[in-house]
Symmetry: C2
């Protein structure tokens, strides 16, 4: 069996963030950054993204030291993508103040030849046109998952539907699954998405956890009730990284419902560390032991049995 490789395409960025707990300027962010760090604890990750000349060498070295294959990372002339936003006390909703795409504006992902055969593929939250480009370049992947956001649901609904038709798993926020389907009820909304093609819908609900639906199965995972949530940025991407990383770690074995549930719990466990600090700080130096303890804590959080 052994681990299988996992490809991620998404953004790498500087984030400037204000939350009720503090403020940071130009810290490391981006969906591919969070995803690949989270997944790196479980499977070999191949990253496809673009940064500018201003992106710190030491971050690139840190990613590389975590075993992430950076052959698909382009360093382009210009500045790195910069997102500026804030959170109110309701940490579930990120408010964007400003988005400078910079080098990301001309991002045209080309897979290195060694990346074309990757069994697990995650299409991060980017232009559906680019997501389709990537799909055209990978050869017979085993599982493809995608994330998206309200911006693309509004701007490119047709293209987005075409991507969705061609993936196995949609990993998406609660508000966005409602916007995408026009259904408030999540069971109905998930069924609509499954009607488009994917066999599984994983709904991220922030502090309320995750709801996972597939044909005939529903799984509800709580978020870990933390006393100190500093910065929810990257929680969703860390979740997706842990989720896909766990699946890839299962190797060539057929995936069972219980595998998908454990994938959800690994994703939730890793995401629960991400929010404990700004940026990728907490995510850089995790240990498998810490992740395992958090998984045990999740089990203790939800367990009930007849006495």
């Amino acid at each position: 069996m052994g681990c299988m490789s996992l490809l991620v395409v998404g953004s790498m960025a500087f984030d400037s963030i204000r939350s009720p707990f503090g403020e940071v300027e130009r810290v490391i962010g981006g969906s591919a950054t969070y995803f690949s760090l989270a997944a790196s604890y479980l499977a070999p990750v191949r990253l496809v993204s673009v940064v500018g000349r201003d992106f710190p060498k030491k971050t690139i070295e840190m990613l590389s030291a975590r075993g992430i294959d950076l052959q698909g990372l382009k360093v382009a002339d210009g500045e790195t993508f910069h997102w500026k936003g804030y959170y109110e006390f309701d940490l579930n909703t990120a408010h964007t103040v400003r988005t400078d795409l910079n080098v990301f504006r001309d991002f045209a992902p080309v897979l290195p030849p060694s990346f074309r055969e990757t069994p697990y593929v995650f299409l991060g939250n980017i232009d559906p046109r680019l997501q389709l480009d990537i799909l055209a370049q990978v050869r017979e992947p085993k599982i493809v998952a995608l994330d998206t956001m309200n911006f693309w649901i509004g701007k490119s609904p047709q293209l987005l539907r075409e991507v969705i038709r061609n993936v196995d798993i949609v990993i998406i926020n609660e508000a966005e699954v409602r916007e995408l389907t026009g259904e408030f009820n999540l069971v109905k909304a998930a069924r609509k998405i499954m009607g488009m093609g994917p066999g599984r819908v994983v709904i991220k609900r922030g502090e309320y956890g995750v709801l996972q639906l597939s044909d005939g199965e529903v799984f509800a995972a709580p978020a870990y009730p933390l006393e100190t949530i500093f910065d929810p940025t990257g929680a969703g991407d860390s979740f997706a990284g842990g989720f896909m990383g766990y699946l890839a770690s299962r190797g060539s074995a057929p995936l069972t419902e219980m595998d998908y549930r454990l994938a959800t719990m690994y994703g939730s466990a890793i995401a629960s560390f991400t929010v404990e600090a700004f940026s990728t700080e907490r995510l850089e130096g995790l240990t498998l032991e810490e992740i395992g303890s958090r998984l045990d804590a999740f089990r203790a959080l939800t367990e009930f049995r007849t006495v």
Copy 2:
């Protein structure tokens, strides 16, 4: 061992409700009605409330047929309490259009002598002054729980704090726990309430389930993801009824953390039936088998194990 009795004090009402799924006029409602019906599947219930002459005899007979002791139900000259409200697509929030207190305005609950020694007591969402009156009339109860709402948090904060100091369990909505404590973080908010006296806080989160906190323990229960939620009215009171009913059903045995978790699941299971129909319709004719199956469904919903 055997079951112990459970006392509930709260409202009985007519509800006029509009939801995205329909509209009903003057159907049976009220916190004590939902609570006592839900609890009646698990323990002997003693009800203290007031209705007007216009309250249907057949509802009173139905409650009596479910074994609910109605010696504490006063039928007063005048009209029954009437609540008119609506729900948007977000079924978590009830919007009040109109409240006619009617006979409830002069409600001064007096316990029948046979009710004074009741080991389990639930103080439904009523004026904290009345909740204190009841507390003064019961003799050495084993467990007292209370519910309250934003109206009393704003209007009678001092009296409410005095009640809270004297109860064991606070069962309360997520928004209200935040309002009561001025803490957005639920772990911190629950700790503040426990600092006032109660050993346990049960936070109702609507479609997101329940979070239960006590000294050193946290339990997260999801709500059952239903495809057809017709009317969330009474869900919180049904939850509380199932919760307290299960505790009372354990008799004189010392209650363990697992008992409280199972109580939460019984409450959640029974509440999940309540929302499947308007008013108390679904709650009147449940069977223990149906409740048990829903409990199994909840277990299937949350279970994950290492393969």
